[in-house]
C-alpha cells in the first residue's frame, strides 16, 4: 500500500488555513511592533481602528489553529502574537490630562466617600492620640519628652522660655522666599513618605497604622498642652491649622486606606483573601494618590504662607476656608458624574 497520504500534502488543511490568514497576522505583528516601540498613541488613527479588529481575527485564528493544526511553531506564534496584541488593546490608558481630571473630579472624592467609615476610624485614632497627649502633658510636663522627638521639637520643650516659643510661631523675617521653597519642598516630600508608609503598613494587619496615627496625635496633643500652659494655645493652633487641616486630613486618608488593606486581609468577606486584597488595594491606592496631592498643597501652605503671614485672623481664616473647601469637595465632587 504505497502512495496514499504523500499525494495529499499540498491540500493539508492547516497549511491552507495559514496561507489564507497569514496576511492579517503579519499586519497585526507590524502594528504591535510599532505600538510596543513607541506607544499605541503613536499609531495613526486608521491603524488604531484596525488594531482591535486584527486582534479579534487573530484570536479566532488561534482557536482554529489549536483545533486543526499540529504545527507547534504556528500555535506558539499565534499565542504570543495574541498576547502581545492583548497587552496593546487592554493595556491602553487614557491620555494623562483626561485621567488627571477624571481622578480629581470624581474617582478620588467618591472613593473617599465610599470608605468614609475607614477614614472616620483613622481620624478617631488621631483624635484619641491628641486627647491623650494633651491630658497627660497638661498633668505632667515630663510626658512631653516621651511623645515628642527631640529633633522635631528643636528646643521647643517645657524647658524653653515662653518668649522662645512665641518667636517660633511668628518668626519669618530672616527667611528669603527661596529658603521657604526649600523648606516647603522638604516638608512635602517628608510628609508624603509618611503618608505612603501609613498606607503600605496596612498590609501588616493595620496595627502599625494605628500606632502611627496615634503617635502623631500624641505629639500634637503634647505640643498643644505645652503651648496652652504658656497661654499660647490660640496662637499655636493658628500656626498649625492653615496647613494642618489639609495635612492631617491627608494623613488620615492614608491611614484609612491602610485600614482598608488591613480589613481586606483580616476579614476577607465573600471573596478569597488574595482577591479581596487586590480589589481593596486598588481602591485604597486611589485614595493614597489623592492624599499625596493634598500633602503637596499642605507643603506649599506650610512652607510659604505660614512663615510669611503672621496675622492671627488671616491664619484662622485660611484654616476655616480650607476646612470648608475640603468638606465641600469630599461631600459633593463627582456625584453628578456617577449618575
Amino acid at each position: 500500500m504505497r502512495g496514499g497520504p504523500g499525494g495529499e500534502v499540498p491540500g493539508l488543511k492547516s497549511t491552507q488555513f495559514r496561507k489564507e490568514r497569514e496576511g492579517a497576522w503579519r499586519e497585526l505583528e507590524r502594528l504591535v511592533d510599532r505600538a510596543e516601540r513607541s506607544g499605541v498613541r503613536s499609531l495613526p488613527a486608521e491603524q488604531v481602528a484596525r488594531l482591535p479588529l486584527l486582534y479579534r481575527a487573530t484570536l479566532s485564528s488561534l482557536s482554529v489553529a489549536r483545533a486543526i493544526s499540529l504545527d507547534r511553531n504556528l500555535v506558539d506564534y499565534l499565542e504570543s502574537l495574541c498576547a502581545r496584541a492583548y497587552f496593546c488593546v487592554y493595556g491602553t490608558t487614557r491620555p494623562l490630562g483626561q485621567a488627571v481630571s477624571g481622578f480629581f473630579g470624581s474617582r478620588f472624592p467618591s472613593a473617599v466617600r465610599r470608605y468614609r467609615w475607614h477614614m472616620a476610624m483613622a481620624g478617631l485614632f488621631l483624635l484619641l492620640g491628641t486627647l491623650v497627649g494633651q491630658v497627660l502633658v497638661a498633668r505632667d510636663p515630663d510626658w512631653y519628652y516621651v511623645f515628642v522627638d527631640e529633633d522635631l521639637a528643636g528646643g521647643r520643650d517645657p524647658a524653653a522660655t515662653t518668649e522662645f516659643l512665641r518667636e517660633g510661631l511668628f518668626d519669618g523675617d530672616e527667611h528669603s522666599t527661596a529658603r521657604l521653597g526649600a523648606f516647603a519642598s522638604f516638608l512635602f516630600t517628608h510628609n508624603a513618605r509618611i503618608g505612603m508608609l501609613a498606607f503600605a503598613l496596612g498590609f501588616v494587619a493595620g496595627i502599625p497604622v494605628y500606632l502611627l496615627l496615634f503617635s502623631t496625635g500624641l505629639m500634637l496633643g503634647a505640643f498643644s498642652a505645652l503651648y496652652a500652659s504658656r497661654g499660647l494655645g490660640v496662637e499655636l493652633w493658628g500656626w498649625l491649622l492653615p496647613h494642618g487641616v489639609t495635612e492631617l486630613l491627608a494623613v488620615v486618608l492614608c491611614g484609612g486606606a491602610g485600614l482598608m488593606l488591613a480589613q481586606a486581609l483580616v476579614f476577607p468577606g465573600r471573596h478569597a483573601r488574595l482577591r479581596n486584597l487586590a480589589v481593596k488595594g486598588r481602591e485604597a491606592g486611589v485614595i493614597v494618590l489623592g492624599a499625596v496631592a493634598m500633602l503637596f498643597v499642605a507643603g506649599l501652605i506650610e512652607g510659604f504662607f505660614r512663615q510669611m503671614v503672621r496675622d492671627q485672623v488671616v491664619r484662622y481664616l485660611v484654616a476655616t476656608t480650607s476646612t470648608v473647601l475640603w468638606g465641600f469637595y469630599f461631600a459633593r465632587a463627582g456625584r453628578e458624574a456617577r449618575r
Binding site: 500500500m1 504505497r2 502512495g3 496514499g4 497520504p5 504523500g6 499525494g7 495529499e8 500534502v9 493539508l12 488543511k13 492547516s14 497549511t15 497569514e22 503579519r26 505583528e29 506607544g39 499605541v40 479566532s60 486543526i68 504545527d71 507547534r72 511553531n73 504556528l74 506564534y77 499565542e79 502574537l81 495574541c82 498576547a83 492583548y86 497587552f87 487592554y90 493595556g91 491602553t92 490608558t93 528669603s176 527661596a178 521653597g181 526649600a182 523648606f183 516647603a184 519642598s185 522638604f186 512635602f188 516630600t189 513618605r193 505612603m196 508608609l197 498606607f199 503600605a200 498590609f203 501588616v204 488574595l274 487586590a278 488595594g281 486598588r282 481602591e283 491606592g285 486611589v286 494618590l289
Partner: protein
C-alpha cells in the same frame, strides 16, 4: 510540554473574548535584574538632577535645594509608576530583561493597580533595605530582639516572590497584578507546505507508529539551524526507518521532511475526527 510548564511557571488567562492564552511567569532572576537596572537608572537620574540643580542656581539660596528635594522624591516615588503607565506595564529595566506587568485576572491593567504595586515598594524594599544597612535611621536604639524580629520581617518581605507559586511580591498581591515574560515568537516557514512533490511515501501502517509528541519533536529537529543538524538528521532518520521498517537508501533531510508532512497530514485528519494520538504509546 514546554520548559516553563515543567517548572510550574505557566499561567492561563482568559481574555475578555473568552479565549485562553498561555502566559509564562517571569523568573526571579529576571525580575531582580530588571529591578537593579531600574534602580541604577534612578540613581543616575537623581544624581544628574541634583548636579543640574546645583549648576543652575546658587545652592545657598535655596531654590536649588527645593528643586533637588522635589526631583529626588519624584524620581524615587514615581519612576516605576510613570513608566508602567506610559509603556503598558514596562519600565526600561523590564524592557531589557523582557518582562512586563499584567493584570493577574487577565483584565486591563489599570492605573490604580500600577500605582499601588509601586507604592508598596516603600515597605517592601526601601524599609527593609534601610533597616538592614542603617538600622538607626528606622528605629534608633532598637533592642536586640526587635532588631532580630525586624530583620526576619524584612527578609520575608524581600523574598516574598520566592515563597509563593505565582512569584508575587507584596505589591503584586495588593494590586492584583503579576509579572510575566513578554511574549515573543517568530513565525517560521510552514514545514507542512511542500516545496515539491513528495519523494518518499508511506503506508498507513508506517504512519500509525508515532503520535503528536513525536511529530513536534521532529518539527523542532527540522527547524534546527546549527552546524550539527546534519548528523542529527542522519541519526534520527536511521532510527525512524528501523522503527517503521522502511526499506532502501534515502537522503536523510528529504526523508524526514516527507515523513513529517505525511505524519502531520494523517494526525491532523484524525484530529478533525476527534482522535488525538498524544504520543507513540497511546
Amino acid at each position: 510540554m514546554t520548559a516553563a510548564e515543567g517548572r510550574g511557571l505557566e499561567r492561563r488567562i482568559v481574555t475578555p473574548e473568552g479565549i485562553p492564552l498561555r502566559i509564562e511567569l517571569a523568573r526571579a532572576g529576571d525580575r531582580a535584574g530588571g529591578f537593579l537596572l531600574d534602580l541604577l537608572i534612578q540613581i543616575v537620574a537623581m544624581v544628574a538632577l541634583m548636579l543640574l540643580a546645583g549648576a543652575a542656581t546658587d545652592w545657598e539660596e535655596g531654590w536649588g535645594l527645593a528643586f533637588a528635594f522635589l526631583a529626588v522624591f519624584l524620581v524615587r516615588s514615581f519612576y516605576f509608576i510613570w513608566f508602567e503607565i506610559r509603556w503598558q506595564g514596562r519600565t526600561p529595566g523590564k524592557r531589557v530583561v523582557g518582562t512586563r506587568v499584567m493584570d493577574a485576572a487577565g483584565g486591563p491593567l489599570r492605573t490604580e493597580a500600577v500605582v499601588v504595586r509601586n507604592l508598596m515598594r516603600e515597605v517592601e524594599v526601601w524599609l527593609p533595605v534601610t533597616f538592614l544597612l542603617v538600622p538607626h535611621l528606622v528605629w534608633p536604639d532598637a533592642p536586640g530582639w526587635a532588631r532580630l524580629l525586624f530583620s526576619v520581617w524584612a527578609f520575608v518581605f524581600l523574598l516574598m516572590p520566592v515563597f509563593n507559586r505565582s512569584r508575587l511580591r507584596v505589591g503584586d498581591m495588593v494590586a492584583g497584578t503579576m509579572v510575566v515574560v513578554a511574549p515573543r515568537a517568530v513565525l517560521l516557514p510552514d514545514l507542512g507546505a511542500a516545496a515539491s512533490e513528495a519523494t518518499y511515501s508511506f503506508t498507513e501502517e508506517q504512519l500509525s507508529v508515532y503520535g503528536i509528541y513525536e511529530l513536534q519533536v521532529l518539527e523542532d529537529l527540522l527547524r534546527r539551524t546549527d552546524a550539527l543538524r546534519r548528523d542529527a538528521f542522519e541519526a534520527v532518520e536511521k532510527q525512524i526507518r528501523r522503527k517503521i521498517r522502511f526499506e532502501g537508501e534515502v537522503k536523510p533531510e528529504r526523508f524526514l521532511r516527507d515523513f513529517y508532512q505525511a505524519l502531520r497530514a494523517r494526525l491532523e485528519r484524525k484530529m478533525l475526527l476527534g482522535k488525538r494520538k498524544k504520543d507513540k504509546h497511546s
